[in-house]
């Protein structure tokens, strides 16, 4: 609290509730909800991960097994394959989205006409439910009736069985993600571009600075905070990728598109090994919490302070 306000604050001490308690009281309901419904499942997952919980064996939660589930997880090649696959898909998708989205933001920013309507239309993929539109993509990818093959055949390319091939199916998932999330990068970089101060650029123009020089020395350094934030948010999101995998490929063909989220789901609710699934989800959770703390936290703090300065 502010030093100069101290006397008046003390004068009001006779009030039934101090500011401190009042502020806690306002936060309390939310914290109760979050602690109750986020931490209880978490502790429950920890509990299950240390016990045998094979639903097919008839017992709901069996005996204490110590670290067995974690040991099995570390030795489980399928799990590590799924992590590797997820990282590959995430890196490819996020890099493409960053490059395309940034280029698109520069393009839209330079437009002389229709900037508003074009920006608005790019919102559409973002608002669409991934589980619903990916079903449509499944039809569009179809190797018999799909429109993508018809379009590529029109320019003389061979027909591709997009979702049927172990090499093309991950690409199909990546392309879908790019379609849905490039507009996200574009909108945020565009917002960053429009918030840039005019003066340094006018000075650079007067000094006769080259276009690339301005881009490298002025534009990108000034956009860096916004672009890092988009990158981190996208990285967290793609690492959790589930919806399009579940609806478009179901992890297939074989395990070609099985992401961590999908694999953990399959272990838990297809093989009913809740103990294994809990151990794996704890590891994934841990990875995300660490990454969030190291990467997202400083960025959110930076932006909050910048907003406060106005």
């Amino acid at each position: 609290m502010n030093e100069t306000q101290a006397p008046s604050a003390r004068a009001k001490a006779a009030r039934p509730l101090s500011d401190r308690w009042y502020s806690y009281l306002l936060v309390a309901p939310s914290l109760v909800v979050i602690l109750f419904f986020a931490l209880i499942p978490l502790f429950y997952a920890v509990y299950v991960a240390f016990h045998a919980a094979d639903l097919t064996a008839g017992t709901f939660i069996g005996g204490f097994v110590g670290l067995d589930n974690f040991r099995d997880m570390l030795n489980n090649d399928l799990f590590w394959d799924a992590i590797g696959r997820t990282l590959t898909i995430a890196v490819a998708a996020v890099c493409a989205e960053m490059i395309l989205g940034t280029a698109l933001a520069f393009l839209v920013n330079q437009l002389r006409w229709f900037r508003g309507p074009i920006r608005a239309l790019f919102l559409l993929p973002l608002a669409a439910a991934p589980a619903a539109v990916s079903m449509i993509w499944r039809y569009m990818y179809d190797n018999e009736f799909g429109v993508y093959n018809a379009l590529t055949a029109g320019v003389g390319l061979p027909v591709v069985n997009w979702l049927g091939g172990a090499r093309t199916a991950p690409l199909a998932i990546i392309l879908f993600d790019i379609w849905q999330w490039t507009p996200f990068v574009m909108l945020i970089v565009l917002a960053g571009l429009q918030a840039l101060p005019k003066e340094p650029f006018e000075a650079a123009e007067l000094d006769g600075a080259r276009f690339w020089m301005v881009l490298r020395r002025l534009t990108f350094p000034m956009l860096a905070p916004v672009m890092s934030l988009v990158f981190v948010l996208r990285a967290i999101d793609t690492f959790r990728l589930y919806d399009p995998v579940a609806t478009m490929t179901m992890g297939g063909p074989g395990t070609a598109t099985e992401t961590v989220s999908y694999y953990v789901y399959r272990v838990g609710l297809k093989y009913f090994r809740m103990d294994q699934a809990s151990a794996m989800s704890l590891l994934v959770l841990f990875a995300i919490v660490v990454f969030t703390g190291l990467a997202l936290r400083p960025l959110m703090r930076y932006h909050a302070e910048r907003a406060k300065r106005g």
């Binding site: 006409w113 039809y139 009736f145 379609w179 988009v230 579940a246």
Partner: protein, 286 residues
């Protein structure tokens, strides 16, 4: 005031380029909507048909045979209940974080971390917990348990609350504390100043947050997929349900997907000014 530079060829080239990219991005939506008006004879053909005689059949099928109206009802109930709870508790917390800086940012960040948890990490504990709760009398009374709407409402509340607190926090920060202080000088109590001065000013932000919460609940898939079977099926599941063991009916599926996507697109256009702020949890003001 600078005079506008003359129109150059560059302006035209950029516009054409932007429209070309836009067409690529709009195409799946276009294809979804046109397929929803095609009869099956126009859908299962190679090469695909670009012109066709439109029909309402698929929509009739979606509502009359596939019970899509019921899915929409379920989704709306769940979304409205969870959004209401989120707004009531979230607004108070966000205000307190913005004005009193409770926890010095640490609690806020803990809240954000819960939002980043992969859904798959919490869905199994939820599954097991609600399986147990559903067999008790209280659970049945509150509609909690597997395949119950109350369960989904709880999940979406937990899922949306951290988001709402962050977004609302950014709106409360934009309201100068001086306004409240002067109301206090005029004899308002803390609570009165909050209700009569701060909340009315924050109304647009609260509305924006509400629409985002509705949108996220409407589009959610994983929780609904794991925790419901039949009675509490939501709209995204309803769309995916057209893919069956026997094959897939693309026409009704496209109609269902269109019904699922179009209202949210309308919402997104409504949110236009705030979409950047919402998607970055309030960090980038846009």
């Amino acid at each position: 005031m600078r005079t506008k530079p003359p129109i150059t060829a560059r302006d035209l080239v950029l516009l054409v380029l932007a429209i070309a990219v836009l067409i690529v991005f709009m195409f799946p939506i276009y294809w979804m909507i046109t397929t929803s008006f095609k009869s099956s004879g126009d859908i299962l053909v190679n090469p695909p048909r670009w012109t066709f005689r439109p029909t309402w059949q698929n929509y009739v099928y979606a509502f009359e045979v596939a019970n899509f109206g019921g899915y929409i009802r379920n989704t709306l109930i769940v979304a409205l209940i969870s959004t209401t709870i989120v707004l009531v508790v979230g607004t108070l917390a966000a205000y307190s974080f913005a004005r009193y800086n409770v926890g010095g940012g640490n609690i806020m960040f803990f809240i954000l971390t819960t939002r980043m948890m992969p859904a798959v990490a919490v869905v199994f504990p939820f599954f097991l917990i609600f399986k147990t709760v559903g067999s008790t009398g209280v659970g049945q009374f509150l509609q909690l348990g597997l395949d119950r709407l109350g369960t989904l409402a709880v999940c979406y509340t937990v899922f949306n609350l951290p988001f709402a607190i962050w977004l609302l926090h950014s709106f409360f920060q934009d309201i100068p504390a001086e306004l409240e202080d002067s109301a206090r000088m005029d004899g308002y109590s803390r609570w009165q100043a909050l209700w009569r001065i701060v909340f009315p000013l924050a109304a647009p932000g609260i509305a924006v947050t509400a629409i985002f919460c509705l949108l996220f609940s409407w589009n959610e898939y994983l929780f609904a997929f794991v925790l419901t079977r039949d009675l509490a099926t939501t709209i995204t599941l309803g769309v995916a349900a057209f893919w069956t063991q026997r094959g897939v009916d693309w026409g009704p599926l496209s109609a269902a997907a269109t019904i699922c996507v179009v209202p949210m697109v309308a919402f997104a256009l409504l949110l236009q000014r705030y979409i950047v702020r919402g998607l970055t949890f309030g960090a980038v003001r846009g």
